[in-house]
């Protein structure tokens, strides 16, 4: 049953991508490009495809987005570029993510090397965390001539890209290839290294011209009623061990998943893909306020997941959860072999000397009270998606460069 989990849906061919690109109206001052947080510029790369210049399209994507192949697959495009697409005035938006995937797959197949390290400026930057924000800031800094060391607490780089998003949605080889591009540019990744434990923050600051904290929100939240219950697992744990084992895990007979975001959808769809017959999802939000992207919700529904919207867990007794509707007088009791919590994640910033409130910096921007320390990614204010992580990664690199740019050591 792991085949379905491990297999990504087929992408476009040159013929079918051209059919999709031909639907694009090639707008003046295109709204899609204005709506991409990472400035990936879909209008320009779709126009390149339309005029059969796939290599040019790959350059446009890659030069703006070090994780272009990943964003092509996991970006909630319906909320950004595709929401703005003028084609919606006729029928449905252009499948921008799909076209981007075709182009980045072509880039990989053609073994293109678009990004290069800039001439060394003699300065060193340390980045804590190798999730999307850390990887993008590393790339932008390398292009500007900085040397970059990334400190990763896990054995593999990528953060949630590697340990969270299921294989059918984001194959590991795509993530690995994107990371390899960045290490080929010169990023040096130190694995299994926890800052504040293996290396002190003071040491890092002493060794580098700046430190970027890009630690994300990697620890699962647990509601108190679910603590110390053997039937309960967090989504973070479930997704990580499933991906690690390539889907070869011991399956529950049935499962109840709590949560209504993309992570919850990843969990329920993974369970179904692996062959768990009865999977129920209970979401805090009602459908009209659902957090998960339409694509992920549709995927879960297609697999036959039962989704109960508007309910919150009230009490738990072993494998039995009692749920209560938020607005109407309704309760239900569900017994499940496995109970998986996908109710959000939090940040562990222990011993890093930065101040966070509710997992986020207290003020906008990337600076901290320490002039040598910057933050980016999920702990910086703003959306918590991969595409925003890319944007924040670029912006923190630009900000550091604007501050350090004059201090060339050479």
């Amino acid at each position: 049953m792991t085949k379905k989990y491990e297999t990504e849906a087929p992408g476009y061919t040159m013929t079918t991508v051209m059919e999709e690109a031909a639907r694009c109206l090639l707008c003046h001052d295109a709204p899609c490009s204005a709506a991409c947080p990472a400035h990936t510029d879909p209008a320009k790369f779709i126009r390149s495809v339309r005029f059969r210049n796939v290599k040019g399209a790959a350059e446009t994507i890659r030069e703006n987005n070090a994780l272009g192949a990943i964003c092509a697959r996991v970006c909630p495009t319906e909320k950004y570029c595709e929401l703005a697409c003028s084609r919606s005035g006729i029928d449905v938006p252009i499948d921008i993510g799909g076209i981007q995937r075709y182009v980045t797959d072509f880039e990989q197949a053609a073994d293109m090397h678009i990004l290069h390290k800039g001439d060394s400026n003699g300065m060193h930057i340390a980045i804590i965390g190798s999730g999307p924000a850390g990887l993008q800031s590393a790339t932008t800094l390398l292009e500007k001539g900085y040397s970059v060391d990334i400190y990763e607490k896990n054995a593999k780089a990528g953060g949630y890209l590697t340990y969270g998003i299921p294989e059918y949605r984001l194959p590991s080889n795509i993530v690995d290839y994107e990371i390899k591009r960045i290490t080929d540019m010169g990023a040096n990744i130190h694995f299994n290294t926890v800052i504040g434990q293996d290396i002190t923050m003071d040491q890092l600051k002493a060794d580098n011209d700046a430190v970027i904290v890009a630690i994300g929100a990697s620890e699962a939240k647990i509601l108190p009623i679910f603590e110390n219950n053997d039937a309960v697992e967090t989504a973070v744990s479930f997704l990580a061990r499933t991906k690690e084992a390539k889907g070869n895990i011991e399956l529950p007979k049935d499962a109840l998943v709590i949560g209504g975001g993309d992570v919850a959808m990843d969990v329920v769809t993974t369970l179904k893909n692996l062959g768990v017959e009865h999977v129920t999802d209970a979401a805090y939000e009602q459908f009209d306020e659902f957090r998960a992207s339409k694509k992920e919700l549709a995927g879960a529904e297609r697999e036959g997941v039962t989704i109960i919207d508007g309910y919150i867990p009230e009490s738990v007794d072993g494998h039995t959860v009692t749920l209560k509707h938020r607005h109407i007088n309704s309760k239900m009791t569900i017994e499940a072999d496995a109970i998986i919590l996908a109710i959000g994640q939090e940040t562990n910033a222990k011993n890093l000397g930065i101040r966070l409130e509710h997992g986020e910096a207290p003020s906008a921007g990337y600076k901290t009270r320490d002039p040598k320390v910057f933050i980016t990614g999920d702990i910086a204010q703003g959306d918590k998606t991969v595409v925003y992580a890319v944007q924040k990664g670029k912006e923190v690199a630009d900000e550091i460069d604007s501050i350090l740019g004059g201090n060339r050591h050479d």
Partner: protein, 421 residues
């Protein structure tokens, strides 16, 4: 379902409908032609029959296509020559077709390198029972320059061979003309002088459709090399209509009977050829792409058009557009018409703005905030490029004004096209 009489007489032969296969790979043997008849075609022009001793030796591969965006077969290039079956078998097929389909029209296409060959082939196909002869004077990819389009662009040769065919047969005969010529009138006049009863046109346009960027030769690649050969399909329709119009209005060729050929694949294409003066129609490329079944929608669509036009007999439509196509110097140049934007349809893509600036007269301005265009009539020349590029057809003919100092009544000026879009 609508049912109307589509029959029409051409060169004294009665066709149950004007739709014929043209002489090409689509009518290469008895079984193919029989299937086409069964699916509703009115006539077939059997693939060109050559003399017994002319050996057909084809290349592989032999076709190529021109594409645009996601659209295949915008044009089609082929390198096939004439029928590769033995003469005897071709004649037997013609005979059997006429025996089994007595009400359908069987047209024999022939081609030879000498007067004697033309005369003999004409005699043979007449004996086989063909209803009509088409002289192929126009195939651009023959391996012999004594045959094909090199002959068709040489009026004295055309006349000589037409006379030869008329010596060999008293069947009605049409001469198939090549478009690989600046003016088709002299060749058509030569054919008529030689005894032709009508003209079939166009044959394919000499072409190179695509070049392989690695191998540095054209497509299709025939063991490393390629050749110029004939282009057909939708892209050649404008060229065909132009030649047909020029023939129909040429002095001395008035009311010239024409079998129209060139990129026909819909009933609208068919009507265009009829309005331009074609009595029958011949089709290959769209059959190669989609099969004989396309005739169903061409026939049905044509019936609906006749109904809308209040036309009982197809012949009433032949050549109706000829008089409305005039020399450029005779067009009304006294007015201009401004485009008008339908704000309910505009989706704010800005394509009109780009094209007007980069390709016309900078008469459209663009509001970045509202994403809407506006037209400055002081700069607009009324070219209507904006209407053509608008993807939602939100730009229509608008106000008509007389140019300064010109006389005329704008309300009587007619520019509106009814074409569906």
């Amino acid at each position: 379902m609508i049912n109307k009489d589509l029959s029409i007489d051409f060169l004294g032969v009665h066709f149950e409908n004007p739709f014929c296969l043209s002489s090409s790979p689509v009518g290469n043997c008895y079984e193919m032609c029989a299937k086409a008849f069964d699916e509703g075609w009115g006539g077939i022009v059997f693939k060109t029959i050559g003399p017994e001793d002319f050996e057909i030796d084809e290349v592989s591969p032999r076709f190529d296509e021109l594409t645009k965006e996601g659209t295949p077969f915008v044009a089609f290039k082929n390198m096939e020559q004439i029928a590769e079956h033995p003469l005897k078998q071709n004649l037997a097929d013609l005979k059997k077709l006429k025996e089994n389909y007595p009400d359908k029209v069987v047209i024999a296409s022939i081609m030879g390198p000498t007067e004697e060959d033309w005369e003999e082939l004409a005699r043979l196909v007449t004996e086989a029972g063909a209803d009509m002869i088409e002289m192929n004077l126009s195939c651009p990819q023959m391996t012999s320059h004594a045959m094909g389009s090199d002959v068709g662009s040489n009026p004295p040769l055309v006349e000589k061979y037409c006379k030869a065919v008329k010596r060999g047969s008293d069947l009605p005969m049409m001469a198939k003309m090549t478009p690989n010529i600046t003016d088709m009138v002299p060749a058509a006049k030569a054919a008529m002088a030689g005894g032709a009863d009508g003209i079939a046109t166009i044959n394919t346009v000499k072409s190179i459709a695509n070049v392989d960027l690695e191998k540095k030769t054209a497509l299709p690649i025939v063991n490393g090399k390629s050749s110029i050969s004939g282009l057909s399909g939708k892209a050649v329709k404008p060229i065909a209509l132009r030649f047909i119009q020029q023939l129909r209005v040429a002095s001395g060729l008035e009311q010239l009977p024409i079998s129209g050929i060139g990129g026909i694949e819909t009933w609208e294409d068919a009507v265009e050829f009829i309005l331009m003066g074609s009595t029958t129609l011949q089709v290959t490329t769209s059959v190669m792409q989609y099969g004989y079944r396309i005739v169903e929608d061409m026939k049905n669509g044509l019936m609906h058009y006749m109904e809308e036009q209040g036309v009982e007999h197809l012949s009433e439509l032949v050549g109706l557009a000829n008089k409305n196509i005039v020399p450029a110097e005779d067009l009304d140049r006294n007015y201009k018409m401004y485009p008008e934007i339908d704000w309910d349809k505009c989706i704010g893509c800005g394509r009109c703005f780009i094209s007007c600036y980069d390709g016309a007269h900078q008469a459209i301005s663009w509001d970045e905030k509202t994403r809407r265009p506006s037209i400055d009539t002081s700069k607009c020349v009324g070219c209507h490029l904006c209407a053509l590029v608008c993807p939602v057809h939100a730009i229509h003919p608008g106000k008509i004004v007389m140019k300064e100092g010109r006389e005329g009544d704008p309300s009587k000026i007619d520019v509106v096209s009814q074409r569906l879009n």
